[in-house]
Assembly symmetry: C2
Homo-oligomer: 377 residues x 2
C-alpha cells in the first residue's frame, strides 16, 4: 500500500514511522526542500496549488492525506479524481475557514464563543459594540500557531487592529474568560466507526502550544460534552482519519475554539501512553484498516521543545521520559521536538517531573497544572 502525505513536517514524520510497521510505503510532498519528512520517504518539492505536479506525484498512490491546513481544499478536490483523499476537500474547507467552522458548530448545536463576521474596520467597531467588550479578531483563513490573530481591547484602536490583520475578512470573537483550554482527538474509519482519546488539557502562549496533560485533570463534567461534540462533528463532516477539536472550558461548559482536520500536537503523548497512537490510527483509517484501541493507562505530560533541543542524555535519564527530535534545523520559535513523561498515575507523574525540575533537567513551570503532591504522612 502506498500513501502520499501533503506536507513534510514532524506530523508527516510521525505518520511515516507509525505506518512503516504496517508495511505501508510513503511519498511526501512539500514546498520546502528541507522538509524533515524527506529523510524517511521519497520527497517531492512543489507548491500546494500546483495541480499538474501533484497529479504526477499522486500516480500509483492508493490514498493521499495531509498534515497541514495550508493545503487548499481545491487541491484535494482535484486529486479526488485520481486517488482516495482523506481528509476530503469538504472537511479541509470547513477547518480552514473560521466562518465555516462556526457555521458547522452552530448548525449542530455545539456552543462557540459569541462572534461576528467582519469585513471592514467599521464592522469591527460594530462587532465590539454588539459583543460588549474585549475582542479577539482572527483572519477567516490562513491563520495558525497564533498568526493572523489580533486582540482589540475595550478602548483600543479598531482601525489599527484591522490594519494589523491585513484588512482581511475576519471573525471577531468575544474574549471569554475561560478556566482552561482542552482538546479532544477522535478517529473515524471508512466504515464510520468512531474512537476517541481522553480529553487533554493544554497551555498555549503566543498562540503556540506549550504543554499538554493527558488525561486532563478533573475532567468529570466535560468529558461527555467533549465526546458528544467530536462525534457530532466527525459524523457531520464525514471524517475518515483523525479530527482534533480545541475548546475552552468556561464554568463547566465547553466552547469550541478551533478544528484541525489531522493529527495534532496535543496528541503526541499517545505515542507512549495509548495502545494505538493517533498517528497509527490516522494511517489505519486512511489505509482502510480497522482502528486500534485508544485505551491508555496512567498519566502523561508532553511539552514542546521550541527553538532548540536540550541534551538528550539529560532528558532520557529521567524515569518515564522520552524525547522526540524532529531532525529540524534549530531556529527561534520553531518546534524542533517534544518530550513526553509518563507515569502510572497523576501523582507519580508530578513526582517525576518535580524531581527532574529540582535538578534543573526540566523547566519548573511544567509543575503548574500537575496534580498537587500528596500531603506528607
Amino acid at each position: 500500500l502506498k500513501i502520499g502525505i501533503l506536507g513534510g513536517g514532524q506530523l508527516a514524520r510521525m505518520m511515516i514511522l507509525a505506518g512503516a510497521s504496517l508495511g505501508i510505503e510513503f511519498r511526501v510532498y512539500d514546498p520546502d526542500r528541507s522538509a524533515t519528512a524527506f529523510g524517511l520517504a521519497p520527497g517531492w518539492v512543489g507548491d500546494f496549488d500546483d495541480i499538474e505536479t501533484l497529479s504526477v506525484w499522486a500516480e500509483g498512490l492508493d490514498a493521499v492525506t495531509t498534515e497541514t491546513e495550508l493545503v487548499p481544499a481545491s487541491t484535494l478536490a482535484a486529486l479526488m479524481n485520481r486517488v482516495e483523499v482523506r481528509p476530503g476537500p469538504h472537511m479541509q474547507l470547513v477547518c480552514q475557514d473560521r466562518l465555516e467552522e462556526k457555521a458547522a458548530c452552530e448548525r449542530l448545536g455545539i456552543p462557540v464563543a459569541p462572534w461576528r463576521l467582519v469585513s471592514s474596520a467599521r464592522q469591527l467597531e460594530a462587532a465590539r459594540q454588539r459583543l460588549g467588550g474585549e475582542l479577539i479578531v482572527k483572519a477567516r483563513t490562513g491563520g495558525y500557531d497564533g498568526r493572523g490573530q489580533v486582540r482589540v481591547g475595550r478602548r483600543g484602536s479598531v482601525a489599527q487592529a484591522w490594519e494589523a490583520l491585513g484588512s482581511r475578512a475576519a471573525i471577531a470573537e468575544a474574549v471569554v474568560g475561560f478556566e482552561r483550554e482542552v482538546s479532544i482527538i477522535g478517529v473515524r474509519d471508512s466504515a464510520g466507526r468512531i474512537l476517541t482519546y481522553p480529553v487533554i488539557e493544554n497551555l498555549h502562549t503566543d498562540g503556540i502550544l506549550r504543554r499538554s496533560i493527558a488525561p486532563a485533570p478533573s475532567v468529570g463534567v466535560i468529558r461527555a460534552q467533549a465526546e458528544d461534540i467530536i462525534r457530532a462533528l466527525m459524523e457531520d463532516l464525514g471524517t475518515v482519519g483523525v479530527l482534533t477539536v480545541e475548546m475552552f472550558e468556561v464554568d463547566g461548559r465547553l466552547l469550541v475554539n478551533e478544528l484541525a482536520p489531522r493529527v495534532h500536537n496535543s496528541g503526541h503523548w499517545t505515542l507512549q501512553a495509548s495502545e494505538t497512537s493517533q498517528f497509527e490510527n490516522h494511517i489505519r483509517a486512511v489505509a482502510g484498516l480497522p482502528l486500534g484501541s485508544t485505551v491508555g493507562e496512567g498519566a502523561a505530560l508532553m511539552w514542546n521543545l521550541i527553538g532548540d533541543l536540550p541534551d538528550p542524555r539529560s532528558v532520557l535519564s529521567v524515569p518515564g521520559a522520552s524525547m522526540h527530535d524532529y531532525a529540524k534545523t534549530p531556529r527561534p520559535g520553531r518546534k524542533v521536538g517534544h518530550v513526553t513523561v509518563t507515569a502510572a498515575c497523576p501523582e507519580r507523574l508530578r513526582e517525576r517531573v518535580a524531581a527532574a525540575a529540582d535538578t534543573g533537567i526540566f523547566p519548573a513551570w511544567l509543575l503548574d497544572g500537575l496534580a498537587a503532591p500528596a500531603p506528607a504522612p
Copy 2:
C-alpha cells in the same frame, strides 16, 4: 547523530523506526539490493568483506552497528579505526563461532550441553561414543535459522552426516531432552549499566522461531539463572547494545544453546509491551544515550509470518493485536512479518487468542503453551 547499520533486513528496519524518533539518521549496508531497510534510509550495496567500499560508507558516521552475524569480525575490526563499532569485533567473533561460544560459557561457569569439537567423520564417531547417544552436529561457523546443522541418531551413519554438513569443523552436542526453549534479552550501555527484559518462552520448528510468549509462564526457578547468565556474558564480552541468549530448560536448570550479538526475533513483542523496546534500547546504547526502562505490564504472544502475510484487516480486528509487515517479497520459508497480541494478564491473552482462533483469524496451534483457561464458575 548518524548511525550505520550493517545488514538491511527487518531488524535494521525496526532499529531505524526506533531511532528516527530520537532524531538519529541512518545509513544501511547490505549485499542485497532489495534489502527492505533501504526503503527507510539511504542504502549501499556491497559485500560484508569489501573493506574499501565499507570505509567510504562509514565516512561521517558516528557509530556502526550490525543486525546479522554474517558480518565478519574482521570487518568490524577494520572499521574500528574510523568509527565507534558496537558490537565490537570480539563479541561478534564469539557469537559467530560455536567453539568460542562454548569456551566463553565454560570459562564463566555457565552450563551448556555436553559437546566435543570434531574435524572429521572419525572424530564425530568418537564424540558419539563419548557423549553417549543422539547428537546434533553444528558447523562451527556460518549457521543460522537451522542451516548448518545435522542430527545423528544412535545408529545413524556418521559418514553421511559429516558429508551433509560439508565436512567442516563442527561442534557435536549431546541432544538434551529439554522441557522448553527460552531466551533472555539484555542491554548494556557504554557506561556498563545493564538492564534485562523478562525471560521469553520460544518455539522453533525446522530451526526457525515460530512463536514467543513473554513473560515465559512459570518462570520462577529459572528467572534468576537467566539474569545471572546474561549479565555475566555481557560483562565478560564488554557488550554495548543488545545481547540475546537462547537456552534450554532441563529439570529447572538452564543450558545455554546460542548467543546472538544483536536485537532478536524473540524480542519483537517489546515494541508493544515494554516501556522501551529492544530496538530503541539498542540504538540508545550505540548512540551513547541512557537506556530506557525495560519494565512492561501484562502478557504478550508473538508469532512469525512465514512465506506470506494474512489479511491485515482480519488480524487488526482482533483486540490487542498488532501486525508488522516487513515490506519484503513473499517467498516460501521467508520471514515476512510478525503479529503480536498483548493483554493485561496471561489468562486474558489466551482468551483473545482463543477467540480469534475460533473464527479462523489466527492459527489454532498458537494456543499451545498459553495459560489454561480459568475453570468455569
